[in-house]
């Protein structure tokens, strides 16, 4: 049963520190998404990759966030420097684009980040 994996599952850090979150998408999927979930804002799209190319990062604070896919088995989301307002659950999802549509997204278990 193929799954999206994310590491770490939990992270507590101090303001100003660098945070790196990793995601292993399902083998064969050609799209990867990074989302942030908070009580106040709900589910927000941060970044979108298709065939490893970054296509949309308009939802990401560019001065401190960066997202990359160094290879097909790894996607990373970095925050440098981190701030308390970055505390949230970060989800990675992967899926397939077929024709004109994005099909089902498969979500990882999330990284729960707390910035003190």
């Amino acid at each position: 049963d193929a799954r999206v994996t994310q590491t770490p599952r939990h992270k507590v850090t101090e303001m100003g520190q660098e945070v790196t979150m990793r995601c292993q998408p399902i083998l064969g999927h050609n799209t990867v998404f990074w989302y942030r979930q908070t009580m106040m804002q709900g589910l927000e799209l941060l970044a979108y990759f298709r065939n490893r190319a970054p296509l949309d990062d308009s939802g990401m604070p560019k001065d401190r966030f960066s997202a990359e896919m160094p290879d097909a088995t790894l996607a990373t989301l970095k925050i440098q420097p981190s701030e308390p307002r970055d505390s949230a659950v970060y989800f990675c999802a992967s899926g397939l684009v077929r024709g004109q549509f994005q099909e089902t997204q498969y979500f990882g278990p999330g990284t729960r980040l707390l910035v003190l």
Binding site: G42, L43, Y48, A93, F101, Q102, Q105, F107
Partner: protein, 114 residues
């Protein structure tokens, strides 16, 4: 651009009662529609989806949804809920024409009371 509206932020029901969670969307082109469920401290997982064909779609855990093109709705229903159905439910839409990024609703919290 497409949009999704989940009309209820919270739906409390008693166990074994029927439930309907409402979802309306807007799009100028054809769409794929999804319902995802998120249990506490977990990621979202697919409940059911409409791609084409029959407008009544059956999913996991006894849920079903009906695609209504004229009313641009995709409401989720279950005839008899269990305590274990307590979760957050998200409606999502992907539009054709090359817009590959799904749009999610704000979510509906289903709270099942004994």
């Amino acid at each position: 651009a497409q949009s999704v509206t989940q009309l209820d932020s919270q739906v409390p029901v008693f166990e074994e009662a029927p439930v309907e969670l409402r979802c309306n969307y807007s799009s100028s082109v054809s769409v794929y529609l999804f319902w995802y469920v998120q249990y506490p401290n977990q990621g979202l997982q697919l409940l059911l989806k409409y791609l084409s064909g029959s407008t009544l779609v059956k999913g996991i855990n006894g849920f079903e949804a009906e695609f209504n093109k004229s009313q641009t709705s995709f409401h989720l229903r279950k005839p008899s809920v269990h305590i274990s159905d307590t979760a957050e439910y998200f409606c999502a839409v992907t539009a054709g024409g090359g817009s590959y990024i799904p749009t999610f609703g704000r979510g509906t919290s289903l709270i099942v009371h004994p």
